[in-house]
Point group: C2
Amino acid sequence: MAAHELLRDHGVHVTAQRLAVLRAVSSRPHCTAENIVETAKDEIGTISRQSVYDTLNTFVEKGLVRRIQPTGSPALYEDRVGDNHHHLICRDCGRVVDVDCSVGAMPCLQAANDNGFEIDEAEVAYWGRCPECKTSTLEKTASNHNH
Amino acid sequence: MAAHELLRDHGVHVTAQRLAVLRAVSSRPHCTAENIVETAKDEIGTISRQSVYDTLNTFVEKGLVRRIQPTGSPALYEDRVGDNHHHLICRDCGRVVDVDCSVGAMPCLQAANDNGFEIDEAEVAYWGRCPECKTSTLEKTASNHNH
DNA sequence: GACGACTTTTTGACAGAGTCCAAGTTGAGC
DNA sequence: GCTCAACTTGGACTCTGTCAAAAAGTCGTC
Ligand SMILES: [Mn+2]
Ligand SMILES: [Mn+2]
Ligand SMILES: [Zn+2]
Ligand SMILES: [Zn+2]
């Protein structure tokens, strides 16, 4: 669907700023609000920081964009919504990678015991170290042993 | 085990501040650093915010305390560690409830595709609405219909 | 017990992310 | 064209959390 219709269908006015923010989020998943300010500025010349924050909040509210907030990182945004996917996050460099739900579609919504809660989302963050950071540590260890 | 030995065994000096922070975390699971500052002050008279943060960081590092960071909330601390349990979180009131891992012991560490990451923790947050908040909404809806 | 190296605490400043104003301007949509 | 929504500008402000330097405390050793 064209971006223009996407916005209309979600009941928000179509503006140059909103189109630019949407494209920025699409072009670089898991980016920060600051990243988006820069990308959008490159595209349409100027956009205020406030406008980017307002737009992102609107998009998240309307379900156009998803926000994740890993510990120690500013909020990250992506346009992959509604598929209940999860994230691998590197403790060393902060890299974020998508990972499909291991159980299937909307399955992990089943907690062992829901305690009477009405659950609508299962958010899973897999913490660890990415291939690059694993390698660089190994190298460091090796060189330490070598002298 | 007495708190005193617990600290020694984890290789940290025993201080009044650390004992107070540990007790604060134990007495009220899933509380914020600010909560802990207040609780600890009530107990030992004075303690600096910095000291609470330092202590919590040390405790997390040493595995004495676990930190969780739900989206949109400051970090929360608990003394239930090493059992890979998860959390139910109410979108309305922020209530946090423990829930055992539905898959068993350390199972959800298995992502569908680890992308070469070395995963050491799977943090699962089940989002929804707690029984109390469900009820209060129902009541509101009912009363709206009644006039 | 007292000493002394080392760790912890205190204090106050500071940083990062994000929100909230407010007033004026621009722009979208009917 | 009119009306209401969205954007800009600039600053103040909140909330979490960290940094740095000086003061105080812990604990192994004498
Ligand atoms: Mn993603
Ligand atoms: Mn818990
Ligand atoms: Zn990495
Ligand atoms: Zn609730």
